[in-house]
């Protein structure tokens, strides 16, 4: 019964899939998500936070002030130490850090998106200036810039349709010489972004996954024995 029902559901659903799926992920203002994956001495940390928490608005940045706020936020998020303070004894070094703004409901192509991510916002910003000034720029930068524009435009249109939630995403790759020295995580994040109230922290390691809630009033997490 179930089997055939789900088959029916599948048939009923297929035209929608053909049109392009419409779906939005969960979005809660004040609450961000932080994922930490650990394998030996390697760590990958990802942050997902609503635009409202980071810059206080979620519409596409139009005014200069909004754009400046987004750029400033991305610059802050680009630095792991402004999100989490890791103990010096763990001897962690960050090998890659990326931060980007993602607007919910945008039908962007994922490959483009990745490219966009790889170059970082600061680069684009610079490219943009160079382009305007008609100073020396190579073809590559020019192409990127076009992509970027098209991308933004796309995001903007769809964001209005979808209600305009935006999310900041940052990811950090790091290596720690003594990961077992990480006993507490101090979330500098709350000091940096005053609208952020809570972070859902998930830690995945060989021992499985665990979740924690960190709130503004108690912005530290005891992770003794987890790394």
């Amino acid at each position: 019964m179930l089997r055939s029902l789900s088959l029916l559901a599948l048939i009923a659903a297929s035209p929608v899939v053909a049109e392009g799926a419409r779906e939005l992920s969960a979005h809660e203002h004040g609450v961000g998500e932080l994922n930490i994956a650990v394998a030996g001495s390697d760590l990958v940390i990802e942050l997902h936070a609503p635009g409202a928490d980071i810059v206080g608005f979620e519409h596409a940045a139009e005014s200069d002030a909004d754009k400046a706020a987004v750029e400033a936020a991305l610059a802050v998020l680009g630095d792991l130490s402004s999100v989490i303070a890791l103990p010096a004894a763990a001897e962690c070094s960050v090998s890659a850090a990326e931060a980007e703004l993602h607007i919910e409901g945008a039908h962007e192509d994922h490959d483009d998106h990745d490219e966009h991510e790889a170059h970082g916002h600061d680069d684009h910003h610079d490219d943009h200036k160079e382009h305007d000034d008609h100073k020396d720029h190579d073809d590559h930068a020019h192409e990127d810039h076009k992509d970027h524009d098209a991308h933004d435009h796309d995001e903007h249109d769809h964001a209005e349709e979808a209600g305009g939630h935006s999310e900041f995403e940052a990811s950090y790759t790091l290596t720690c010489a003594a990961p077992d020295q990480i006993e507490t995580l101090d979330f500098a994040y709350f000091g940096q972004f005053e609208n952020a109230r809570e972070l859902h922290v998930q830690i995945a390691s060989d021992a499985g996954a665990q979740a924690f809630d960190v709130e503004r009033d108690a912005a530290a997490l005891d992770v003794k024995g987890l790394f």
Binding site: A37, V44, Q202, S205, G208, A209
Partner: protein, 415 residues
């Protein structure tokens, strides 16, 4: 000196004191029992799945998916297509994947379709693997491996025939295609004990003659079915292992954002914690009720002490006449209460252990819940201390009254 006096006084009122002790003992046993069941249930849930990084199913809630796919509790989730499953396991992050297909039953037990990888990758209790107590893993299309509880409850041996029922109500049976028990698993204390495991192809095979949920009149001969392509169209869920924990979240996101079908990937540990946070409210309520029972028993103690004051006026007066100071009277009453509380709490713990030893196998058989028996530790010590302290506090009221009385009418008894 006071202590001896207190003991002697308690012994003199043996029956009343015994009743109070019993009330406290039962309340303490209840409180610790609730605590034991609570922690035991948690541990047993947490021990059910280990080593699986992600569980993938149709988009629902993480708790629902976890409960249905691992614990076979709660509402069925939608199925996911075999194509989506193939897409996911083809991803570079995936180390291994085990598909699970639920929906049929054998008597009161669930039938689960899976692959032989299930037996290598399913781990419980910190990485322990499944083992056979007899027979072999599925070899033929119509072979089934059964859990220890299934074998025990239905008296199956290796080679016993099994008829699988459609759905979970056994009014329609796939009696044209009987299975054979090829192996019996060791007891694990997990839902696997109560599961009949067959191959995915077998699940397809028993549904060959079932169109739109009803049995069609035509019976396809078993020989024809054996020749058919029995690749499933859909599965219920899949357990997935990643190559490196670093890729867990990446794979999870990729699955959650999979465009062709709404899928959900959950981290079992996190989903379990989510479940605890929901159950936590009920747990707190349960704990609050059992604390209330302890408080009630202590109030009973206070009442008994109050009641004894009148009949002990003469005793108090004699004490005072012998030269005892009023505070001695106060201390005597307090001490009596603390002794009652201590004896009650210790007796309560003894009761609990006796109960555990008797009920442990029964609870395990009936609810699949294994309550470990540990030597009394810090928690029990704290409970004894807490009850003694609380008894001192509540009995301070009658003690103060006794103190006052002994001052006022100590030498002037009007009976």
């Amino acid at each position: 000196m006071i202590f001896r006096l207190a003991l002697a006084s308690l012994l003199a009122r043996f029956v009343t004191v015994l009743m109070t002790v019993i009330a406290i003992a039962f309340s303490v046993a209840l409180f610790l029992g609730v605590e034991k069941v609570r922690t035991g249930a948690k541990a047993s849930f947490a021990d059910t799945i280990s080593g699986t990084d992600l569980i993938v199913g149709a988009r629902s809630g993480s708790v629902q998916l976890l409960l249905y796919s691992v614990f076979r509790i709660g509402n069925a989730t939608n199925n996911i297509t075999w194509e989506s499953y193939q897409d996911i396991i083809a991803r570079p992050e995936v180390d291994w994947a085990v598909p699970i297909s639920l929906g049929d039953s054998h008597r009161q037990f669930r039938v689960m379709g899976t692959t032989s990888d299930f037996f290598t990758h399913y781990k419980y209790r910190q990485g322990q693997g499944l083992a056979l107590q007899g027979g072999a893993l599925m070899d033929d299309l119509y072979d089934a491996v059964i859990g220890a509880d299934v074998a025990a409850a239905l008296g199956y041996k290796v080679d016993s025939p099994i008829v699988v029922a459609h759905g979970i109500a056994s009014f329609t049976e796939h009696d044209d295609q009987p299975f054979r028990v090829s192996g019996i698993l060791e007891k694990t204390g997990t839902p696997v004990d109560r599961t009949v495991i067959v191959s995915l192809a077998a699940i397809e095979a028993i549904h060959v003659d079932w169109k739109s949920g009803a049995k069609s009149g035509v019976v396809t001969p078993v020989e024809v079915i054996r020749e058919m392509d029995l690749t499933p169209n859909a599965i219920t869920a899949a357990m997935v292992g990643v190559k490196s924990p670093l890729q867990t979240f990446k794979l999870q996101r990729a699955i959650n954002e999979y465009r062709e079908e709404p899928l959900l990937a959950i981290l079992p540990g996190v989903a379990l914690q989510e479940l605890w946070s929901i159950v936590g409210i009920a747990e707190t309520a349960l704990l609050a009720v059992s604390v209330m029972v302890v408080v009630t028993a202590l109030i009973g103690l206070m009442a008994a002490q109050f009641a004894s004051l009148n009949e002990r006026r003469r005793e108090m007066a004699i004490l005072r006449a012998m030269g005892a100071r009023p505070w001695v009277v106060f201390a005597l009453l307090l001490l009596e209460s603390v002794v009652i509380a201590f004896v009650g709490a210790v007796l309560g713990i003894a009761l609990l252990y006796a109960g555990l030893i008797i009920a442990q196998p029964w609870i395990d058989a009936a609810y699949g819940l294994w309550l470990p028996i540990h030597a009394p530790g810090l928690q029990e010590g704290l409970v004894i201390g807490g009850v003694m302290l609380a008894s001192a506090i509540v009995s301070a009221v009658p003690a103060v009254r006794a103190y006052r009385l002994s001052l006022a009418d100590g030498m002037n008894v009007r009976i």
